[in-house]
Assembly symmetry: C2
Homo-oligomer: 476 residues x 2
């Protein structure tokens, strides 16, 4: 039996990072952004496994809040997307509980499984090297070690945690033993690490036997272990969600590094051969994206004069800049962020402020992806809201009712099939229809090209939560 048949991948995708606001939002965290490479970081993470771990061996751990959006996000993989299992945490509790929860699902699939854990929001371009490194790590995992993937530093980075590796080899093993984890160093310490050569960046990628990591949970995080076993008994039963919620309400938030890897005696470190970036903040893009001749990274509808070493992310709107140096400018349809590079990490304060003041700009974008397509809020007023709605061919929205608003629909491309109370009819290009308040209705694209409609809502209350769903193709 091929060793690879026993590997299950666990992709951690619960992060709701604010560091890329306003591009990232509560409902569209960094892993779902297309900031580096041809696709989003999450989809790149899934594709990276292509060829050596089949999709039915892939688990994605995320929060309940993000789960539906993540499933929608994976629709690009077509009918195979359903093979990926999405594990829902009631809320984020850092990596130890997330990995713990995943481990009992993996064990249920195969008690002998190997478990490859990786973040969903890091960048690895060299897929073949990655695959080779995983194969190399199997040797250690098979011998009941926890294998961490270390990245050889190429600069004195102060933003990463480091792992110090023991110089003397372990008899009979290619991989070396981890000596200790080291917190983010200051610049001088980082320089010395770079010189010494046995310090590696902690990539957050791990490989181990599922049986081994569960034994280590039992030993070093017994409270979490007991919770996991309680959940484990319920897997596949009607009690599963309830058990998970109860356990999560009681467990601590802790990283796998602190909870297990610093304590375990059986940790090896593999020196990864691939380039890697955690794409941790806006300035990190300088390491992974191409620059123009003045050191700028420029995207979108931007016009610039004499800018230097700046990151300028425009949107459809025009962004005009002159004489910028070491700045970050990020424009989105409803919010723009401007800061010197060295201070972009303070963006979280902005996001906190927005949350505190009940503003929406931290949580949702003007355009929201849905399983059936997407909608864009063109304008929201006191008693009205205007949306452009795009429905993919052969998809349909849920059968629904609104208690506080009526809706006018005008078709601007494609053909709509509309259900309204007991009637059903077609609305063609340049035709319109009307859904009165408290009327059951459904919107559907029966055609082969995207259906676009303009929706004008009128009512006392025009928020998204005024919706009762009766039937839904997407189980919402």
């Amino acid at each position: 039996m091929n060793q690879l048949d026993k590997i299950y991948a666990v992709i951690l995708a619960g992060g709701s990072g604010t560091r890329f606001w306003p591009l990232s939002r509560d409902t569209l965290p960094k892993q779902m952004l297309k900031i580096v490479g041809e696709d989003t970081l999450l989809r790149q993470s899934v594709r990276r496994l292509n060829g050596f771990i089949p999709l039915d061996h892939v688990f994605i751990v995320t929060t309940e809040k993000l789960a539906q959006d993540i499933k929608t996000h994976l629709n690009v993989f077509g009918r195979n997307a359903n093979q990926i299992k999405v594990i829902k945490e009631p809320c984020g509790r850092n990596t130890a509980p997330a990995i713990g929860l995943a481990s009992i699902y993996v064990r249920k699939m195969d008690p002998e499984a190997l478990m490859l854990v990786m973040p969903s929001d890091h960048l690895i371009k060299e897929v073949t090297k990655f695959e080779n490194d995983v194969r190399m790590a199997i040797e250690g995992a098979e011998k009941d070690y926890l294998v961490t993937f270390g990245i050889q530093p190429n600069k004195p980075e102060t933003g990463y945690g480091y792992m110090k590796v023991k110089e003397e080899p372990v008899p009979g093993l290619t991989l070396k033993k981890l000596e200790k984890f080291v917190e983010k160093p200051d610049r001088e310490t980082a320089r010395s690490y770079l010189e010494e050569g046995n310090y590696f960046w902690n990539s957050g990628i791990f490989l181990w036997k599922v049986s081994k990591i569960i034994r280590e949970f039992e030993r070093y995080m017994p409270q979490l272990y007991r919770g996991l076993e309680i959940i484990g008994e319920s897997l596949g039963t009607e009690n599963e969600r309830e058990r998970i919620e109860t356990v999560y309400s009681e467990i601590d938030s802790l990283s796998i590094d602190y909870g297990i890897l610093e304590k375990s005696h059986d940790v090896l470190t593999l020196q990864a051969s691939f380039d890697w970036s955690d794409v941790g903040n806006w300035p990190a893009l300088d390491d992974v994206l191409d620059h123009d001749s003045h050191g700028n990274i420029i995207r979108g509808n931007a016009i610039g004069l004499d800018n230097h070493n700046s990151i300028i992310f425009g949107s459809d709107r025009l962004l005009a800049t002159i004489g910028l140096k070491d700045m970050v400018i990020v424009d989105t349809p409803d919010a723009t962020f401007i800061s010197p590079k060295e201070r972009t990490q303070e963006v979280r304060k902005v996001v906190e402020e927005l949350k505190k003041n009940g503003k929406e700009e931290h949580s949702v974008h003007r355009t929201v992806e849905r399983p059936w397509g997407s909608y864009t809020v063109l304008e929201k007023g006191d008693r009205y809201k205007i949306k452009r709605i795009v429905i993919k061919p052969h998809e349909k929205l849920s059968l629904q009712i609104h208690r506080h608003r009526s809706e006018h629909w005008v078709v601007i491309s494609g053909t709509a099939k509309v259900t309204r109370d007991n009637e059903s009819f077609f609305v063609n290009l340049n035709e319109s229809t009307y859904i009165p308040v408290s009327t059951k209705h459904r919107l559907e694209n029966p055609g082969r090209i995207p259906l676009q409609i303009i929706e004008v809502q009128n009512g006392d209350y025009v928020e998204e939560d005024d919706i009762e769903r009766f039937e839904d193709d997407y189980g919402r």
Copy 2:
């Protein structure tokens, strides 16, 4: 007879300055912006005359392109607005032709008239002082002098032209003689001007007898003079516009300073007692607007952390800034501008670039004022355009037809009266109607509150110039 009865005011409003882009546009130049004070600079300029020059003695000189918008802009003065005469230049030719053209209109009203010339886009807050200074200038004008208003410098400004005044008084006059105009100085020269005390900023405000300035045109700008007399003969006849166009196609572009005031021997300078600013660029706002405790000027939907000495003009969209120093940020619904203060004058290069590339963002705003109200383009696509249209109570759009688009209208506030072919009907809140292509139609607000409709246009061509007008309350 009161001397003031003979004064006519000429407000020069042809400027299409780009220095306040993206707030200013081709169709909404600086004089029509509300950047300083309670109202737009143009309307402040008109109000400044309130009490000593009646509106039927006020001329506004502007370009044909801007004339309709300027008339709409003056609607706030109610039925009196019609008393203001708007003189249309075929195109801008600097101040000498504009003043020359106005002078023959003024002469026709009263050959003995005094003519007070002033820019439309400068800031003077102290209206009483201004009025007193005008009264003082009359003395010189009555004695056949050209009186220029000089501003006592309070700092070594390098952005203004200066006027040097002769120390020795003219026998029998309070005002002193102008010795010469001086170009914008460098910092050191400006400092010496400030010390010497007989240098004044050129405010562009002048007072003279219309007969005197016309004599000076005859003497120093004979070509322009001949053109003006040709136009003069046609005033009030059907040939008037044609004559103006012919003359304007041949005359040179020149300022009144170079053309007349530098050459004339009869120029006096009044030392103005009022504070003044030409509000010439973004950093000039620092002189005339209040700052927060960190020296920032902040407007609109902005959230900022630790910014210093920056000008941050937000719009409805969220603008988040961190750690800015001496920056200018200007956000509008369709364009954002970002630059260090010291380089904002280069914004004209951005505007040139936009023009060259046929972009719209230099010329129109997303919201466009109309005599009957306004419209805002919410989105424009390949074959559709969505607008929110606001019609003021008792106003109506022209009776019109579109050859390439049909329109769906949904009322989101107020009540609409719609004319479509031969029928006429009301469309109430939350109702809709449809105007097919090539159908004569008219939209009207018969009510007492603003009517708002959402218009969804469908068609091969959805530009503003697809319109044939049949009847129009506003003579378009």
